[in-house]
């Protein structure tokens, strides 16, 4: 076919990039990713997009502009829903319309609606539509979809994700190894992780000075570990997340993200909500955070949120209330937008990490002077 399809390195690139890559490759199309986020892309996006939109949407505009002169099609699907009975976000649903009416001189948009709210077959339906748009027959598209879906099974999700995004995408080659090393420790699936054997009392950070050799499974761990809660497209975008994950590594702090928690664990916690959450990210974030808190895996939470994100405003608040009420684990909300200054961000981050460290050292210490 030889058409060039541009995929903006933004929003659900961070979830579906391997899938899309495989799918379009099987259809014989060439794929062009936009450049990793930089100041120019952000500025272009902020300038062209409506002021009130959240940062990721503005950034998406920037990525589309980055692609527009070098491809035949740009992938801007209308992602209404990617899971049963759940939506993503109103702004995702209206994204193709927003892009078409705010940016001028674009190539053709692949703006097929993906709606899997009622049935998972919605995914295949959307794929067939996209195939038809590119001139591929139903059979060929279905085959391509199968192929891509096979590789994108739930259990391979995180590994795939790690490989594509962390290595080729946002963390560059030199840092990739370092990131790989951290992630291989963090991202292990729970079934591969040795069963917890230690007593309940030990299931928490080891006090300073105590040896850890007799705890082989990393539960009684030496280093601080924080849970980073946020949309994949803010957490993994090195530019707009102010390189949070890297900074944590530099501070010698391990991290866990929503993607490192098993779907089953997420659902177990999410189902305890009085009313099921109807946002995909909402369920994942809530379930993952509560799982991290309950299993004692983390010493603190960092909620990375973009200014004006409607879903975060509800979900992060709910997480904060429940984590505080039930587990008493510290939590900080870091809000980012196009005006955020890195120095202020760093100061807050460092203060939070210091606090976690002190909390660990002094926990159980009762001052003799009262």
């Amino acid at each position: 076919m030889g058409v060039k399809i541009g995929i903006p390195r933004s929003l659900f690139y961070y979830r579906f990039a391997p899938f899309w890559e495989m799918f379009f490759a099987a259809l014989g199309a060439e794929i062009v990713f936009s450049d990793p986020t930089n100041k120019r892309i952000l500025d272009d996006g902020v300038k062209s997009c409506v002021d009130e939109a959240c940062l990721p949407i503005k950034l998406f505009c920037g990525h589309v502009l980055n692609l527009k002169d070098r491809v035949d099609y740009i992938l801007v699907p209308r992602l209404t829903s990617i899971s049963k009975n759940e939506y993503i976000c109103p702004e995702f649903g209206g994204l193709p319309d927003m892009i078409r009416h705010t940016l001028k001189g674009l190539p053709k948009l692949i703006d097929t609606e993906v709606n899997m709210r009622k049935s998972a077959r919605g995914g295949l339906k959307a794929a067939v539509e996209i195939g038809a748009m590119l001139g591929a027959g139903r059979r060929r598209t279905t085959e391509a979809f199968r192929l891509a879906a096979q590789d994108f099974r739930k259990d391979s999700f995180y590994t795939e994700f790690k490989k594509t995004v962390m290595k080729n995408g946002n963390l560059d080659q030199a840092e990739a190894l370092k990131a790989e090393a951290i992630l291989s420790a963090v991202g292990q699936k729970s079934e591969n992780r040795p069963q917890m054997e230690c007593q309940k009392g030990e299931n928490r950070p080891r006090p300073k000075g105590q040896k850890s050799e007799n705890c082989p499974h990393g539960v009684c761990r030496k280093r601080l570990r924080v849970g980073v809660i946020g949309h994949p497209y803010t957490v993994y975008d090195r530019y707009i997340s102010m390189d949070l994950l890297r900074k944590l590594t530099d501070h010698g702090v391990e991290f866990r993200t929503i993607e490192s928690v098993d779907e089953a664990d997420i659902n177990r916690h999410a189902s305890r909500l009085a009313k099921p959450m109807f946002w995909n990210h909402g369920r994942m974030a809530y379930g993952a955070a509560l799982h991290m808190a309950e299993s004692g895996e983390v010493d603190g939470f960092i909620c990375l949120s973009s200014f004006g994100c409607g879903i975060d405003s509800f979900v992060n608040d709910l997480i904060e209330r429940h984590v505080r009420r039930r587990f008493g684990i510290p939590l900080i909300t870091m809000t980012i937008d196009e005006h955020s200054g890195e120095a202020g961000f760093n100061t807050r981050l460092e203060a939070f990490l210091d606090m976690l460290q002190w909390r660990r050292q002094n926990e159980g210490h009762i001052s003799a002077s009262g």
């Binding site: 409506v50 109103p90 209206g94 193709p96 319309d97 009416h101 959450m277 109807f278 608040d317 709910l318």
Partner: protein, 385 residues
């Protein structure tokens, strides 16, 4: 058990009359006011949308008056409103106000019936419920009718303030009138009085359509009373999104799978191709409908960070350009200052007046071929000479 519910325009009239008929003890929170907003802002998370904050204010004020149970509508997304009641419960719990939140939503009929049973005391009242609800729908419809009638008369009345007097009097009286039947009588009375207001036969007011998010559109307090102020400026406002419309379309027709009035969806199609939650499609569609039915302008109102309306906002410039209708977007939160806001509205209205004058001049030019002229394309002024 003392029941309370949040304010939304004239919804209280409808809800209270139902509660009267069934015989449930209830407390209507004071009409939305500054203190409600302050209380709401104090206890709610910073980034949630304005209606949630005002709701919390309503509940706390009702709590102070002795209420202990909240009745609230629900939904299933993707707009945040669907999750309001859950967050309300959490906020009130953490803030130390012990109140039960009962969400009435049509997603699960069994669940809905059990919830109603919890509120409704005996069996006989349950039997009467259908007829009471029918009358309540009628009340919602009529109350909205009265509001629309007031929009019309306010812009045309000879003696300024007559409409406001009747309308505000009606809202006060509705607070003390008991039961659906008496409320219906009150509605008849008010309608007759509004129809009797002496109108200026030569009045030709500007016509402005109000679109946007439902709460800020309907609730006078949240929009700084914009619709009444427009009326006082001699502008006739109109709004298609109403409570009765919401009840009929979403709470009756949708669960029963009856065909719904989708004119707005059809009109929105060229700009917004799908349902994305909230009232985004209504906003875009109704703007197009107003443009095509000869309105002078459209004002979009929504609370800060409202996701569906942000999408609509980004599409409205295209509608504006394609159909030639001026649109003003007003975004409201607890920090919005009234004066700055009214300046913008007045400037917009001045612009609309000027625009109409120019158009009339232009029409004269076309017919008489004298005086100032410009370049025209299909009867529209493209540039001045």
């Amino acid at each position: 058990m003392k029941v309370t519910f949040p304010h939304l325009g004239n919804t209280y009239i409808c809800v209270k009359s139902i509660l009267d008929d069934i015989g449930i003890d209830y407390i209507i929170p004071p009409f939305n006011n500054k203190r409600a907003l302050e209380l709401g802002t104090r206890y709610s998370p910073e980034m949630v949308c304005l209606p949630l904050k005002i709701n919390i204010g309503n509940y706390i004020q009702a709590y102070e008056m002795g209420a202990d149970t909240i009745i609230m509508a629900g939904g299933c997304g993707p707009c945040r409103f669907g999750y309001y009641s859950q967050l309300h419960r959490e906020i009130l719990k953490d803030a130390g106000f012990e109140m039960e939140v009962i969400t009435l939503e049509g997603t699960d009929i069994k669940d809905l019936v059990s919830k109603i049973r919890r509120v409704v005391p005996g069996g006989s009242e349950l039997m009467r419920l259908p007829s009471i609800l029918l009358r309540a729908v009628e009340i919602a419809k009529r109350a909205d009718g009265i509001e629309m009638l007031a929009f019309r008369t306010r812009a045309r009345e000879c003696e300024r303030g007559t409409t406001d007097r009747i309308y505000n009097g009606f809202r006060e009286k509705a607070l003390v009138t008991k039961g659906t039947r008496n409320i219906l009588k009150l509605l008849d009375e008010t309608e007759a009085r509004l129809k009797a207001v002496r109108l200026d036969p030569n009045a030709d007011p500007l016509r402005v359509g109000i679109v946007g998010e439902i709460y800020t559109g309907i609730e006078h307090f949240a929009s700084f009373d914009i619709q009444h102020r427009l009326g006082r400026l001699g502008v006739e406002a109109d709004r298609k999104v109403t409570v009765s419309n919401w009840i009929i379309e979403h709470m009756i027709k949708k669960p029963l799978r009856l065909p719904r009035d989708m004119a707005f969806a059809k009109a929105a199609k060229p700009w917004l191709g799908a349902m994305i939650g909230g009232h985004a499609r209504e906003t875009v569609g109704n703007t197009a409908i107003y443009a095509m039915s000869g309105y002078d302008g459209v004002i979009q109102i929504f609370p800060f960070s409202c996701m569906p309306e942000i999408v609509a906002e980004s599409l409205l410039p295209s509608v504006e350009r394609d159909l030639g209708i001026p649109v003003l977007t007003l975004i409201i939160d607890e920090m919005t200052g009234e004066a700055g806001y009214m300046t913008r509205v007045e400037a917009f209205i001045d612009m609309l007046e000027k625009r109409r004058e120019n158009r009339e001049k232009q029409r004269e030019n076309v017919t008489s071929k004298t005086g100032e002229s410009g370049t025209y394309k299909k009867g529209r002024l493209v540039s001045w000479n």
